[in-house]
Structures are given as structure tokens and as C-alpha cells.
């Protein structure tokens, strides 16, 4: 009954709609034009502008097409004299007292108010009202000018429903209505800026810096985390001489109607390598180093094509190709595949946003991968998803999204997943030995997850039909990662959940699929964006300069298992890795020649699609198909849990910081502070403001310590975005913290 299509007419043309679609959604699908100002497809309709009013034959008055579903047989009229007149009046009203500052307003040229005023021929003002004092506000990355605001509510809707922060809100007051903010909830993502149809909510940095039409839009993929969100770098030449003649990125935009960006993607764009000299001497030294290297080390902040190059170079020159983080991820995926019987996890971010039952184990997703948080916000708002967050550290950022917080002991992720598997896997026959070996009472005691909590979880899963399990970075480097991965694989195979594994770094998944990685051995090492005896660096602080990712073409494999394209937004005249490869005998004219050879699909880089249609359907790159894996691996018994007493630090970044590239971006301000609760401070005998030192995996840290009153417990958050090599040990570590002297 639910699948029955609703047949009706728009302007005399037959149209079909699905249950749950509104008239305007059906119209957009078929290309019928209905003007809107406040309609944002990715949120519920705001119904504020009234422009989308249409007429229905046989009914008096207007019908609002954004929030009304069509009925069988109705005949909708999208334009008529009376509709035009009323829409024109609405535009006249929007223009009342709107400051005539198109000449200096940033939005000029891409302003919906300009466009519709022109469309509806509003040439003069017949209404006027007494003006109101409206103060401009600066809220960090965004500045709000209420004088320009048309109160379309797109910003509050996106902040509430998509971002899930509930920072922006409407301050009602009739004509004096404004938008206001709870600044402590704002995560500085700038979604509000991207959806504002006028110049009211503007980027503080971009204001007064350029006209919109002078910018060149370069479509690319964000390089900061494994969501690799689609974005546009908007750049312009700055002069004809000097270091900036390769262009400068002025801002980042996205197709705000349908896609989203976090603060790192939107404001972390100025990380290009400005050193543009070609130093032939150093280049030749680099070639020698490669030829004699024992190890070549690199990070997963790299394109598929360059990873492929390194693999080819390894095959030719025989060095160890080292990327511990991606190697651990690859091993995790292999173990997962052995019980999932599929080489890849089967959930995507879209599945997550449509889910009604989410369990997250071992992930601090609000900072690890913001698009995961956004997808959960959508699931909670649009589907009232039940969200169970299994994690030792409470995250105050997501308290309004989480329905059940299960605080497990540090280190007990294997027990947690075993208990979840025990509750949710119906057919236990394929892993009988494993399930028989489970001593739930013991696991519960050691992990501190009560059986009641699991029962409650199971109770609330009844009547929920779209379960998603999120597996986070905490378990990928867990001492028991292998077994944990197998339990997760079983959960996917059993159908109890669709599984989403969050790749820890931008292209961990791509690298793990393309490269055959080794362990480091003693001897000469060459590093690509990482510490080594000889360093190639896109930050410009190594031996040989390399282009940064906003200066490269190539592809990533992202969390959705999509191969997504990058394009260069800023030119680069120095050497790139392909030059080294060519000189060493691995030849191709352009690095993107390797795109069809990566081992996925034989599609050339220039043939990769990158578009969104009128209804929000994304065509971007292509999806990697999973391979069946016919192993019949047995899951081992759950091991004894080690204890983590005393001061424990958790490797976790603040919002919007991901790596050495975001670190120096002008608009991203989060610092490298060690952040802990009051309890942590007392237990570790330190206080807020102290400079402290501690050692993790042999690496000494000196951090400024700050207390966050919203945190509880004895685990502190230690950022790692200033480190070029992420530790491949478990994210939690017991440490001895000392106050630094002097």
C-alpha cells in the first residue's frame, strides 16, 4: 500500500509522486518551476516565504507546495496572474527597508533576493516602514547582519536538523525578529553561511574580499577526513608577479541545498604549499635517497594515484613501503572480511542518515568524522532514531542526539561487541564455539556494561527496521583488533546491522586496498609528509617540496567506498611525486593516467562524473564493489581485559582539527591543549592552566592543560593533529603526568 504512486498533474502534465513527497519535490523532479526563497531540500520545509504557493483546480485560495503532499488526481497550477501578483508583493515586502548596498555586499551576483526581485520586476518601492536599529553580530567564522536578513529560517533549520548543534535560533518579535545564537553550542562549521540566500549570514573571513563572479569554482574533494566531502575551492589570481600568481583560494562553497561541509572542510582551505621553486639539486638528491632507501614512509593523506605510484616504486626498487596506520586498518578490514564474507562494510552515510537505530562502538565521531555526526542528527530529527553511544568518554557535543549512553571501561570494546553480538545475532550456528564460550556475567563486570543496559538496547530495537552499527577508530588499533573485527563482520553477515567502519584518515581505505604495506626496518628512510631521514613535504618544511592536496588532481576512496575526484585549485610549479617516479623509471605523463589502473574500475579520471541533480541525487565518481570472501574463520574467545587505572589520555582531536594541514589554517583556531574533567585534574594532581608532560608510545608530549567542566571521568583528550605520524597504538594510554618545570 505504501508503494503506490500518487498520480496528479502539474500545469497539465502528468506527474507521479511517492508517499511522503511534497508537491514541490515532485515538481523539481520533473522540471516544473516553482519559485522559492526559504525552501531547503535537506531539511523539513520552513514555510516562511510563501513564494511556493500554487493553485489547485477546484479549490479556493493558494496551497503551499513545499509542505503539502499531492493527492490523487489534483491539477496543480504553478503560475497565473494572481500567483504572479502575490509573489511580486512578497518580493516587494522582502525589499522593504533592505539596504541598497548591492555594490558592496558580498552576496551580490549570487543573491536570491537580487534574482527574484529581477524575476518579478520589482522596480520601485511603494511601501515603507519605520526602520529598526539592528546590530551586526560577529560569531566567529560567521558574521550576522540582521538588516539584510529575510528570516527565511534556513540557517536555524540546518543548524538544528543537519548539524544537530541547536546553536542558532529564531528570536521572534514580529518585524523586529532576528536570528540569535547560543554561542557555546556553535561548532563553527559554517553550514548557516552556505545556506543563507542573502548576505545576512556571511563568512567573516570572506567579507569584502572579492566579488562572487570573479572567482573560479574548482570542484574537488575535501582532504581532511575520510568523508572527502564534495566542495568547490573558489580561487582567483592575486597578481601577476610574486608568490601568489598561482592563485589564491578565497573561500570554499558546496551545493548547500543537498550536501554539507564541516568547519574543517569549509574554513580549512589555506594549506597550499607556496614554495614554487624547482630546485634541481635537491631533486637529484631525492632520487638518490629513493634508490638507496630501506623504507619509504607515507601517510594516508594522499591520493590513490600517488599511493599507487609508491607501490609501483616499491615493486621496482624493493624498499619497505611503510604506513603503519593504513596497515593496521587493512589488517582490520581483512579480519572483518573473513567473517562478513565480504571485503567491505555495507553501510554508507546515507544509510546512517535514514537509520532508526544506531549503535556506535569505539568512536568519538563528532570530532573523528563530522559527517557521521551530521548523518546521525538527520536520523534523529527525521526518523527519531534511537542512538546508543558506547564509549568510555562522554561527549557533551552530542548529548542531544544520544538516547542511551553506555559507558564502557577503557579497553573493553571486545567485551562490548561480544555482548551486542550475543543479544542481536539470532542464528548463532556459524560461530557456536564463540557464543558458547561467552561468560556474559564476567564480560559485564569487566566492561562495566550492565546486562540491563543491553536488554534495554534490545528492547528499543523492536519495531526499528534500519539498524546501523558504527565501528570507530578506537578498535582499529586495539590490542584485540583482529577478533573485534571478526565479531563486527559477524554482525554484518547476520543481518542484525548494516556496518559502517570509519576509516581513521582521509584515504586509509584507498591506501589499504592499493598498497602492499610493510613494517619499518632499520636503515635509511624517505618520508612523504612524515618524519624521516629525507623528507618530501607539502608543508614546505622538509627537504624537497611537494604540492598540497588542494594543488593536486587525483582521487580518494572515502567512507562511503566511493572513489571521489580532486582537482587542483591553486597552481604549483615545483616538483611532484610523479616527477620522481618518472625519473626513476615508473613513467606516465600525468599522475591521473593511473586512475583507471588502480584496480577498481577502468574509468579515466576525466570521465569521472561530479554532479548533483535537481532532486539531490549525487553522481560522483563510482562506488567500489565488495569482493566476496569465502573464508570460514572462527572467532576466538574474548580475552581477559587489561585494566587502565590512574590517568588515562585518549588520542582525540578538538573539532575542526585533523592534521598538520588544518593546524595552520587561518580560520581554524582550536589548539593543542590537553583537555580533561575536574576529576581528571584532581586525580592527576594538576590544575587548569598548567603545562604538563607525559609520554605515549615512546613519544613525549608537552601540553597546556585545560579543564572542561562538561566532561566527567578520568580520561583526558590529547590532540594529535600536530603530529605527522599518528600513533598506531591503541588510542587510550595510561600515563604519568607531570607538571613541567619552568
Amino acid at each position: 500500500m505504501d508503494d503506490k504512486m500518487i498520480n496528479f498533474k502539474i500545469d497539465g502534465i502528468d506527474v507521479s509522486a511517492k508517499k511522503g513527497e511534497s508537491i514541490i519535490e515532485a515538481a523539481r523532479r520533473t522540471g516544473a518551476y516553482i519559485p522559492t526563497m526559504c525552501y531547503l531540500p535537506k531539511t523539513t520545509p520552513n514555510a516562511s516565504c510563501r513564494m511556493c504557493s500554487v493553485q489547485v483546480k477546484g479549490q479556493d485560495g493558494f496551497v503551499l507546495s513545499c509542505n503539502t503532499p499531492p493527492l490523487e488526481g489534483i491539477e496543480v497550477i504553478t503560475d497565473s496572474d494572481v500567483l504572479y501578483k502575490e509573489r511580486q508583493n512578497i518580493m516587494k515586502m522582502y525589499n522593504v527597508n533592505h539596504p541598497l548596498q548591492c555594490g558592496v555586499c558580498d552576496k551580490s551576483g549570487e543573491c536570491d533576493l537580487q534574482n527574484k526581485t529581477l524575476d518579478f520586476g520589482v522596480a520601485d518601492q511603494t511601501f515603507a516602514v519605520r526602520d529598526q536599529a539592528r546590530k551586526k553580530k560577529k560569531w566567529g567564522v560567521h558574521t550576522y547582519d540582521p538588516g539584510l536578513c529575510i528570516m527565511c529560517e534556513k540557517c536555524t533549520a540546518v543548524c538544528n536538523e543537519v548539524v544537530g548543534s541547536e546553536a542558532l535560533f529564531i528570536k521572534p518579535g514580529g518585524y523586529k525578529s532576528e536570528i540569535d545564537i547560543r554561542l557555546k553550542n556553535c561548532i563553527q562549521c559554517g553550514e548557516c553561511v552556505s545556506v543563507c540566500p542573502v548576505g545576512a549570514m556571511a563568512s567573516t573571513d570572506f567579507k569584502y574580499s572579492s566579488n562572487a563572479w570573479e572567482l573560479k569554482k574548482v570542484p574537488s574533494s575535501c582532504s581532511h577526513c575520510s568523508s572527502t566531502c564534495s566542495l568547490y575551492y573558489e580561487s582567483k589570481h592575486v597578481g601577476i608577479n610574486g608568490s601568489r600568481d598561482e592563485g589564491k583560494i578565497y573561500r570554499v562553497t558546496n551545493t548547500a541545498d543537498f550536501t554539507s561541509l564541516c568547519g574543517a572542510g569549509r574554513f580549512g582551505f589555506d594549506y597550499e604549499n607556496l614554495n614554487i621553486q624547482k630546485d634541481a639539486v635537491v631533486f637529484n638528491i631525492a632520487l638518490e635517497k629513493f634508490k638507496s632507501a630501506k623504507n619509504v614512509k607515507f601517510t594516508s593523506i594522499i591520493t590513490n594515484e600517488e599511493a599507487y605510484l609508491l607501490q609501483k616504486l616499491k615493486e621496482k626498487l624493493g624498499f619497505n613501503l611503510v604506513n603503519d596506520e593504513a596497515k593496521a586498518f587493512g589488517a582490520f578490514m581483512n579480519s572483518f572480511a573473513s567473517t562478513a564474507n565480504s571485503s567491505l562494510y555495507n553501510a554508507t552515510l546515507a544509510d546512517l542518515s535514514k537509520s532508526d537505530f544506531v549503535v556506535s562502538v569505539g568512536s568519538s565521531f563528532s570530532s573523528d568524522n563530522p559527517m557521521v555526526k551530521f548523518a546521525i542528527a538527520k536520523a534523529v530529527n527525521h526518523r527519531k532514531a534511537y542512538v546508543s553511544y558506547v564509549h568510555p568518554v562522554v561527549d557533551p557535543e552530542i548529548s542531544n542526539l544520544v538516547t542511551q549512553y553506555i559507558k564502557n571501561e577503557v579497553g573493553s570494546e571486545e567485551a562490548a561487541l561480544a555482548m551486542i553480538a550475543d543479544a542481536f545475532v539470532e542464528d548463532k550456528s556459524s560461530q557456536e564455539a564463540f557464543f558458547d564460550s561467552l561468560d556474559i556475567g564476567y564480560l559485564s563486570g569487566e566492561s562495566n556494561i550492565s546486562t540491563e543496559e543491553i536488554e534495554l538496547l534490545k528492547l528499543f530495537s523492536k519495531r526499528k527496521t534500519a539498524h546501523v552499527l558504527i565501528i570507530g577508530e578506537d578498535v582499529i588499533n586495539h590490542p584485540r583488533a583482529k577478533n573485534i573485527a571478526m565479531i563486527a563482520g559477524l554482525l554484518q553477515k547476520s543481518g542484525a546491522f548494516k556496518v559502517l567502519i570509519i576509516p581513521p584518515v582521509t584515504n586509509s581505505l584507498g591506501v589499504s586496498l592499493i598498497c602492499d604495506l610493510d613494517n619499518e626496518e632499520d636503515g635509511l628512510s624517505v618520508g612523504y609528509n612524515t618524519q624521516a631521514d629525507f623528507v618530501l613535504s607539502a608543508k614546505g618544511d622538509g627537504n624537497l617540496d611537494m604540492p598540497a592536496l588542494n594543488q593536486q588532481e587525483g582521487t580518494f576512496v572515502n567512507i562511503d567506498k566511493d572513489v571521489t575526484p580532486l582537482n587542483a585549485a591553486v597552481g604549483y610549479r615545483g616538483y611532484e611525486l610523479n616527477d620522481i617516479a618518472n625519473a626513476l623509471g615508473v613513467e606516465s605523463e600525468n599522475v591521473i593516467d593511473y586512475t583507471p589502473q588502480l584496480g577498481f574500475k577502468n574509468i579515466a579520471f576525466d570521465d569521472l562524473e561530479n554532479s548533483v541533480d535537481n532532486s539531490g541525487n549525487v553522481k560522483r565518481g563510482y562506488k567500489i564493489e565488495p569482493k566476496t570472501n569465502r573464508k570460514k574463520t572462527k572467532i576466538s574467545e574474548v580475552d581477559d581485559l587489561s585494566e587502565y587505572n590512574g590517568s588515562v589520555v585518549y588520542s582525540c582531536n578538538p573539532l575542526n582539527q585533523f592534521n598538520i594541514f588544518t593546524k595552520d589554517c587561518k580560520q581554524i583556531h582550536e589548539k593543542t591543549d590537553l583537555i580533561g574533567s575536574e576529576q581528571f585534574a584532581i586525580a592527576s594532581k594538576i590544575k587548569s592552566g598548567d603545562t604538563v608532560t607525559f609520554t605515549v608510545d615512546g613519544q613525549k608530549f608537552t601540553r597546556h592543560f585545560k579543564v572542561n567542566r562538561k566532561l566527567t571521568g578520568t580520561v583526558a583528550l590529547n590532540p594529535n593533529f600536530d603530529m605527522d605520524v599518528k600513533s598506531s597504538g591503541y588510542r587510550y594510554n595510561q600515563v604519568k603526568i607531570e607538571v613541567a618545570n619552568g
Binding site: 503551499l64 502575490e86 512578497i90 515586502m93 530529527n381 526518523r383
Partner: protein, 680 residues
């Protein structure tokens, strides 16, 4: 009916200009010509027109002040373009004319903007505010033109004048607790569920409860009915409450979100049912210390011990009660107040609110009706023991077990036949609990017909009962109880028919001779209304009573005939609904709050006076033709638990809406806010 000088209300056109007062044609509507005991109104202006009560009204200023109200009330909100700017333009233009600087073009602008607002506004405030303004501009055009031509201010522009406005809506008006329904539905639509709950809690603290068990008179006054089907208003109420409970947030109290600092006053509340809880909630928010005395071992009154678990789960009602406790209200359980204590309360408390309900089951009035007969069980007592066990594991006492022949220490009716006499909500609870208690056969004996029983309860309640296997015998009544040695064996049932009155009056129920039948039963449970248990009230107070033996008040300030003693809920009104108790208690609490702080004066706020006027006028117009919305969008229906599962247990029957259903149902709401204003 009211005397008017001029009125365009609801399509009337009464023009008594130039007529002497004795010849004035009266309006058919209950317009508030008298404001309160010591003030008359000069005019009343609202969404459906304007009425003037005397000739001295400054019509231009009236129109301007009405437009100003649209600006003053933030609820006028400004969330749509035509409303936000249109409203401002209306005000500015009218003020321009009123202060003597108007032009003829201003009248054209007003008409044009009015039309746009009427056609495109988001809600009814935007659509209706222009209506009376246009009426005044049309019928008093001369007055407007005079001010424009002579560039002079309007008649009383520069004088002090009083204009009292009130925001209302047809649903809000019909709700006994005047809940801000469009407000909380908007919270659901905006997905700001905390705001939805706060909107409800302005006048109703029990959102979980009234989101589940209410006959929803609001839905009977929902304007959407004029177009297709009413909004599922009740279903949408619990969503905000579920959000608060599921996420473990603190409680979303209305306004500033917490109680005021203590003002050093104390009030005693007798009874912790919905009326008592509501009184306590609003008094506590105002900083008044409250002690609630409850005779049962549990809180919540009849909603706890009367309404069954499958309709109103205890763990949800408990959340509502926790919200009241969160404000620091003090509850004393197992304490039946005595007459001596009542006398003492007069000095130890600043006021007392009696909210003791109606807990004495009335008799069926058949032959041989005797309490000693085993199997004769008053509905209230029956439900008490069913619910105390199901919800709290409180065992049925030995005395009751013996009297009612129970095989165990809880209400187990396996294999028994139960007959209930009634037709209201209590009787439905009785029969459906009997099914769940394992009865072999359950019969409802009702004097009237199916249509009436649905009207007195709800469609859902009746049909779910039928599905569960309850037999309804309509047009019947119990004639005699047949016992053998004081054990009930059978009932003699008389049958009736509706005989129409040959003179066109009301049809009468007449017994059909020879149609009576005997039915074997083990239990007769009368659920034919209850009376109030008021033994604890000191006799010498001689409190005035109603003809149905409840405490009498004027229905506005809820004070009994004795100063400082107030009453609300069933013990005042008679057995009625939860929402009625809440509404009365809210008003009572408001009056008490002022009473204890202003030295003993009983007053109503302007808001409350207007509320009562509007209730008398009745805001909902079932004949109104509604436009501007697509007719025929169906109402969402929540899923209910399958009958084969729910008959055997107390699992909640109604699953409530899914998120998609909530959003699509909330989108159907037409947000029918109206502004009414009195000039006096």
C-alpha cells in the same frame, strides 16, 4: 445575544448608528459588551469582524491598536514574510492616518497589503488581522477620509485608553486547560521538541498523560475538520514529553525554566491527582511552598489507580509527576486529612485547595442492590485493586479477596462472567481490564446506543474494546440483582427503545414489556458515575454545594463559599476529564498565587477575563469555509498493538506516531491563532 451599536461579527451586519438605544437590533453572538464587574467595553475587535458597543469609539485608533497588537505579541512571531512586513506596514500606515499625516494613497496600500496578507500568510493571525481593519475602513470611510483631508489626528488619538488583547485559537479555546496547541504543534514541526513541551507546560504540566488519555475536545473544535479531518492533536502532545524523558534531560519548565525564589507563602493541597498536581506545579513555579496530602499510598490520583496500564503506562505518568517534584513540591502519602486538620490548615497555611476528586461509586439503583452481595463491586474499588497490583505489586487485601471471591491476592477473573453498567471512560476501563484479568465473558450494559457511547468516550476506545471481545448490550439496564445466600448469580436486564415524541420534543426511552432477560454473571461492576467523598470537610463551614453534591464555586476563580478555601477538579465539577481538572486547577493556582501575595484579594488577570469571554463566544465556527489549504490530506493514524497480543497483558496499546507521521501531521496544522481585543 448582546447589545451592539455596530457589528460585522461573523457575517452579521448590524448598524444601529443614529438609532435610539431602545431600538437597537441585537447581535446573535455573545460579544463581551460588559468587560467585568466594574467595567463595560467600548468595542470588541477580532478575527471575524468588529463590534462597537457605543458611539464614542475612535475607529481609526481602534484599527491602529489592533494592528499594533500584531506587533506587540511575539507570538505574532514574524515567521512569514507577509505577516512580518505586512503587519508592520499595516501598523505604520494606520498610525500615520491616525496621527493626522495620512494620504489617500495610504488607504490603497492598506487594502493591497491586506489582500496579500489574507492570501499568503502562514497562519490565521496574518490572514485575519486585516479582516476587521478592512471592515472599519469600509464602513467608516468618512471618518478615515476626514482625518486625511483635514490632516488632523483621530478622535481620541492623544488620550489614554485601555486596549486589552488576547491571543486564542479555536482548539485552545475549546480545551479546558487552554493549552497553546498551535504552539506545541509548531514545536513538533520545527523539530524543536523542547520548545514543543515548554509550550504545552505553560498551562498543562501533564504532557505524557494528556497526550494519551483525553477525549480531546480540541479536535472537535479543529478548523481542519471544515476542510477534511481534524488534526491528531492529542497524539502530537506526547512527542515533546517523550523527547524529554528519552534523552534524560532535566525538565523543560515553561518561561524561564525554573521556579521563582520563595515568597514565603504556603498552600495546602488535598489530593495528588491531576488537579492537585497542577495546582502544586503552578504555585511552585511562582515561588510558593506547597504541601500535597494524598490518602493513597501512591501519587497521581485517579489517573494512577483508575486508568489502566495499557492506556496510561505508569512509567510515563511518573515522569509527569517527577516534573512537579522537580520544583520542590512536598508530598505526604498515606495521609487522609481530617476535619481537625482542615481547621488547623486555615491558620498554618495561607490558602487550601481541595482536589480530592470523586471516588465513591454511585449505585445502579436496581432491585436487591446490596453491598454485602459478593460479586457486587464498585468500579472505583475494582480499578484501584487492579491498578495497584499491576503498577506497584500492591496485593489485594484479604478482606477484599474474600468479599469478591478472588482465588489469589490480585484481581484474577479467570473463567468468570463480568457485567459492567456504564458507558463512560471508567466503564471502558472496567471491561477492558476484566478481559485482561482473564474473564470468560465481559458484558457492558448501556442505556443508550453505539453512537452515544462513542461520543461519550472515543471511537478508538470503543472499537478496541469490541476487538478485545467485550459484548455491548445497548438500550438496556439492570432491573434486579439475583443472589443465592448473598452470592451474585444473575441479573435481570430490561430492554428499552427510543420512542419519538409525537409533539416533536426529545425522544424517550421506554421499557419494552416482555423483552427482559436474565443473564448469569459472577460480577456486577457499576460504573455509573461517582460522587465526591467530602467527609473530611468541617461541617460548621457549611460550604455551598451543587445539586450533585460537589463543592460549588463560580467557575472562574474556584474559591468556595469560604474565604481561602478553593476547590478544583472532579470534587468541584463532578466526575469529568483529566484535562478539565488541569484547566480548573491552573486557573485556581493563578488566583491563589495572587490571593496569598496581595493580602487576600480574589482577582482575575485580564488574560483570564478575556479567556472566559472568548469561551462564552466560542471561537470555533463549524460553518466557516476554509481556504488556502489542500482539502483531502488524510489524518495520520498511529499503529496499535495487535489484539491477539494485547488482550493478555498490559502492554501499551497505542504505539504513538513515527517521526514521519508526526512531521506530516504537524504540517497539516493550519496554526489558527487569532487576536481578540477589547477597548474599554
Amino acid at each position: 445575544m448582546s447589545k451592539v451599536y455596530f457589528s460585522t461579527w461573523n457575517g452579521e451586519f448590524i448598524n444601529n448608528l443614529d438609532k435610539p438605544e431602545e431600538e437597537w437590533e441585537e447581535s446573535a453572538y455573545n460579544l463581551p459588551a460588559t468587560y467585568d464587574d466594574h467595567r463595560d467595553s467600548k468595542a470588541f475587535i477580532g478575527w471575524d469582524g468588529v463590534a462597537l458597543f457605543n458611539a464614542d469609539v475612535d475607529v481609526i485608533r481602534l484599527a491602529m491598536e489592533y494592528a499594533a497588537q500584531y506587533q506587540v505579541y511575539s507570538e505574532a512571531c514574524g515567521r512569514c514574510a507577509p505577516g512580518r512586513w505586512g503587519g508592520r506596514i499595516l501598523y505604520d500606515q494606520l498610525d500615520k492616518i491616525a496621527r493626522g499625516e495620512g494620504a489617500v494613497a495610504d488607504l490603497d496600500h492598506l487594502r493591497e497589503i491586506s489582500k496579500s496578507m489574507q492570501m499568503t500568510s502562514k497562519c490565521e493571525i496574518g490572514k485575519t488581522v486585516p479582516n476587521p481593519i478592512l471592515d472599519l475602513m469600509t464602513h467608516f470611510e468618512d471618518t478615515f477620509m476626514e482625518c486625511i483631508n483635514e490632516q488632523k489626528p483621530s478622535k481620541h488619538y492623544n488620550e489614554d485608553a485601555s486596549y486589552i488583547a488576547k491571543i486564542t485559537a479555536p482548539c485552545t479555546d475549546a480545551c479546558p486547560a487552554h493549552v497553546d496547541i498551535p504552539g506545541y504543534i509548531e514545536g513538533v514541526r520545527d523539530l524543536k521538541l523542547d520548545e514543543s513541551l515548554r509550550a504545552t507546560r505553560q498551562t498543562m504540566p501533564l504532557a505524557h498523560t494528556c497526550g494519551r488519555v483525553c477525549p480531546h475536545p480540541c479536535e472537535d473544535a479543529c478548523r481542519r475538520t471544515n476542510l477534511d479531518e481534524p488534526i491528531a492533536i492529542m497524539e502530537l502532545k506526547r512527542i515533546g514529553a517523550d523527547y524529554e524523558t528519552d534523552h534524560g534531560f532535566g525538565f523543560f519548565h515553561p518561561g524561564k525554566g525554573k521556579k521563582k525564589a520563595s515568597v514565603g507563602k504556603k498552600v495546602a493541597v488535598i489530593g495528588a491527582g491531576p488537579a492537585g498536581l497542577t495546582t502544586a506545579y503552578y504555585l511552585a513555579l511562582d515561588g510558593i511552598d506547597v504541601d500535597v496530602y494524598e490518602e493513597l499510598p501512591v501519587l497521581g490520583g485517579e489517573v494512577t489507580v483508575g486508568v489502566p496500564e495499557y492506556r496510561m503506562p505508569w512509567d510515563k505518568y511518573r515522569e509527569d509527576i517527577e516534573a512537579v517534584k522537580d520544583l520542590g513540591v512536598n508530598f505526604i502519602l498515606n495521609h487522609r486529612v481530617t476535619a481537625d486538620e482542615m481547621r488547623e490548615f486555615e491558620s498554618s497555611y495561607d490558602a487550601t485547595m481541595i482536589a480530592s476528586g470523586t471516588r465513591i461509586s454511585k449505585a445502579v439503583r436496581c432491585d436487591n442492590e446490596r453491598e454485602e452481595v459478593k460479586g457486587y463491586w464498585g468500579a472505583i474499588d475494582f480499578l484501584d485493586w487492579v491498578n495497584l497490583y499491576e503498577k506497584f505489586d500492591i496485593k489485594t487485601p484479604k478482606a477484599v479477596q474474600e468479599q469478591q471471591m478472588l482465588p489469589a491476592d490480585y484481581v484474577d477473573l479467570t473463567g468468570k462472567t463480568v457485567a459492567c453498567v456504564g458507558g463512560g471512560f471508567t466503564s471502558m476501563d472496567v471491561v477492558r481490564c476484566s478481559i485482561r484479568a482473564g474473564a470468560k465473558r465481559v458484558i457492558m450494559i448501556y442505556r443508550r446506543d453505539e453512537k452515544t457511547i462513542i461520543r461519550n468516550t472515543t471511537y478508538e476506545e470503543y472499537h478496541e474494546a469490541v476487538e478485545e471481545g467485550v459484548e455491548f448490550i445497548f438500550h438496556s439496564a439492570v432491573n434486579t440483582m439475583n443472589d443465592e445466600e448473598d452470592v451474585l448469580k444473575s441479573l435481570l436486564i430490561d430492554k428499552f427503545e427510543l420512542v419519538p415524541d409525537p409533539n416533536g420534543g426529545r425522544a424517550q426511552l421506554v421499557k419494552i414489556e416482555g423483552a427482559s432477560e436474565t443473564i448469569e454473571v459472577d460480577y456486577l461492576i457499576p460504573a455509573v458515575s461517582q460522587s465526591a467523598d467530602l467527609d473530611f470537610i468541617p461541617q460548621e463551614w457549611e460550604l455551598e454545594m451543587t445539586s450533585w453534591a460537589t463543592l460549588k464555586t463560580n467557575g472562574k476563580d474556584y474559591m468556595t463559599s469560604r474565604k481561602g478555601i478553593f476547590a478544583s477538579g472532579d470534587c468541584e465539577y463532578g466526575p469529568m476529564t483529566i484535562v478539565n481538572a488541569v484547566g480548573q486547577a491552573k486557573r485556581g493556582a493563578s488566583v491563589i498565587s495572587r490571593y496569598v501575595q496581595n493580602g487576600g484579594e480574589v482577582t482575575l488577570t485580564d488574560d483570564e477575563i478575556m479567556e472566559d469571554h472568548l469561551r462564552k463566544m466560542k471561537v470555533y465556527d463549524k460553518k466557516e469555509k476554509v481556504t488556502g489549504w489542500l482539502a483531502g490530506v488524510p489524518r495520520a493514524h498511529s499503529e496499535v498493538l495487535d489484539v491477539d497480543i494485547r488482550k493478555y497483558n498490559n502492554e501499551e496499546v497505542n504505539f504513538g506516531f513515527t517521526q514521519e507521521q508526526s512531521i506530516s501531521e504537524a504540517e497539516r496544522c493550519m496554526r489558527c491563532y487569532y487576536i481578540a481585543m477589547v477597548a474599554n
